[in-house]
Amino acid sequence: MFRYVFTRVVTSLALLVLGSILVFCLMRVIPGDPTITKLGGSIREVDEATLAEIRGDLGLDKSLPEQYLEWVGGVVRGDFGSSYFSQFSVTTLITQRFGATLLLAIMAMLIGALIAVPASIAGAIWPNRPLEAALSGFAAVGIAIPTFVIGICLIIVLGVELEWLPTQGYVSFQSDPLGSIRSTLLPAITLGIGVAAATMRILRPSLIDVGSASFVRTATGKGLRRRHVVVRHELPNAAIPAITAAGIIVAHLVGGAVIVEYVFARPGLGTLLVDSVYQRDYGVLQTLVLVAVAAFIATSLVVDVILGLIDPRLRTKAVT
């Protein structure tokens, strides 16, 4: 087990380095001179000297590998450089907004799992037509409907008409945990529905596949009740493809988070991302993308470790 985890960690770190190089190159290679952007767009009459000075400030006059190393050096020290636009350092901007996005992501995953897992299990224990149709329908619609449409509908129904929950803004967790959760509930449900639908689309076919596996017949043949067979035998085996696909589900989560934060006007990393695109703020953009890449690699690592715990075939050798 230890060796398994160790190899995974090493691979992850290598991927992280590779990813950072890719991100860096992407940012430098795309057209659009950030110097001009910093000056506010289309100023053509600034003289060479000022331009050169600004370039020097931003460190753009050094060679690419030098710039990369400088950046990496900063990153390792926790200094992500400063935003090209605002006065704040990138680190400040990100830490300010990190909490909101993290809370949203966690709540959305919980809600998604709370919907998807029991629904899939129910579909496996009681295989009747109406339930099947309802679950399939939910999964199909849930994945087809754009997140912002769900958000808008929820705003209309729960926010405006019924006035049960707040529709905008964010209360920080540290200052008011309950209010924080309350202000995140609507966006989390919005995102959670998409997560649930994506999870169900993988979990349900997986349960069906497992349902026709030989060992399920063996278990039923031993005289075990259906509930027992589904929960103890089918589910653990069916969970494996679902957990493996967790990466895709997290991808949905992240993409959706951006949109959801916009819809609900939450000051999170998603809105930061959108703003930095508008402003061509490469300093922030670069770091955000790196954070996203790091998050992925971390997720894959966690997924692999969980799989290693669940599936003994990954830990021990097979005998033929």
Binding site: F215, R217, T218, K222, P236, R313, A318
Partner: protein, 334 residues
């Protein structure tokens, strides 16, 4: 092979006129099993032989009520010590399965849950049918694992299926099936997936278990050699019906039904002339939705007459066994 003395004392399982129907959307249902009857006694070794499509596996599955979703028992009775298994509620049936009636299957590689240790899986069967504590369940599991010839059962109790070879896994399956001392054990092609040497050992194991525990065994197979060395009585299935049944030596050496005859002719034997062409039976076994009228074998039968096309032959006793043929005896054939 151990000697085949029958130690039967009483009938434990009686199957009468079993019919299995499979629903097909937008089409009439098909009947892959059309009226099958047989009996199993304590300690008896019964064989059901046939090709794929003959209905033998579905017969076995229907005894355990493990039919696939669109299939159901449409007629007949399955009496196990008095209760009709075909009519039991699912709850009651779950108590019978794995308890008084057990089954082992043909694919030991995938018939065990890869995520659980084998000891736990065998113990599960014991716990499901008897109220015993964990300690006792574990002890009994180790005991039965030892009984089926698994070396070092205490150590291997916690190992996972992928750490065992095919033959060992089949032994585990057998352990799982017999740990509750069932009255009847159904073995559906238990050795098809195994190599010949392992096959022999597994069959030997089964023979010993059956004798020691006085279990009735139904061996489902397409392998006539296997059937002849293990079974006391044989039922030959074709097109959803049992076309010939009787003591193994009689059915397999001197068959009376044209299908059984043809089957035997088609076996390659070492004592025959190598230059002789293989006498395969012409044609294909019928698909369940395209069953011939009258006798199911008539399209491929060398002796078929008009009556064979029109009238399904009833079971008649001939020469110490029962067969379904209009012309079972040499003399009556053209």
């Amino acid at each position: 092979m151990t000697n085949l003395t029958a130690t039967r004392t009483g009938v434990v399982l009686t199957v009468s006129d079993l019919v299995v129907e499979i629903a097909v959307p937008r089409r009439p249902p098909i009947r892959p099993v059309r009226g099958v009857s047989f009996e199993v006694s304590q300690g008896q070794r019964l064989g059901i032989v046939g090709e794929s499509g003959s209905g033998k596996s579905l017969t076995a599955l229907s005894l355990m009520r493990l039919l696939p979703p669109r299939a159901r028992i449409a007629g007949g009775e399955v009496l196990l010590r008095g209760s009709d298994l075909a009519r039991l509620s699912e709850r009651r049936m779950a108590r019978v399965r794995g308890g008084r009636l057990s089954m082992i299957y043909q694919d030991p590689m995938s018939s065990l849950n890869p995520l659980q240790p084998i000891g736990r899986q065998v113990g599960e069967a014991i716990v499901a049918h008897e109220s015993v504590g964990r300690r006792e369940a574990r002890d009994r599991t180790v005991e039965v694992l030892r009984d089926v010839g698994l070396p070092q059962p205490e150590r291997r109790f916690d190992d996972y299926p992928h750490q065992f070879s095919g033959g060992m896994r089949q032994r585990v399956m057998i352990a799982m099936a017999i740990c509750t001392n069932p009255d009847v054990l159904i073995a559906d092609e238990p050795t098809t997936a195994l190599d010949v040497t392992t096959q022999a050992r597994i069959m030997e194991l089964l023979g010993r278990i059956v004798e020691e525990r006085r279990m009735g065994v139904i061996l489902i197979t397409h392998d006539l050699g296997l059937a002849s060395s293990f079974c006391e009585d044989i039922h030959v299935m074709y097109g959803g019906r049992i076309v010939e049944s009787g003591p193994a030596p009689a059915v397999l050496n001197t068959p009376v039904h044209p299908y059984s005859e043809a089957l035997l002719e088609s076996i390659c034997r070492l004592d025959r002339d190598v230059h002789r062409p293989i006498a395969a039976i012409s044609g294909q076994p019928p698909l369940p939705h395209q069953l011939p009228s009258g006798c199911p074998f008539h399209p491929r039968c060398a002796y078929a007459q008009d009556v064979c096309v029109e009238v399904p032959p009833p079971p008649i006793p001939v020469d110490g066994r029962v067969t379904e043929c209009h012309f079972p005896l040499e003399e009556a054939r053209p």
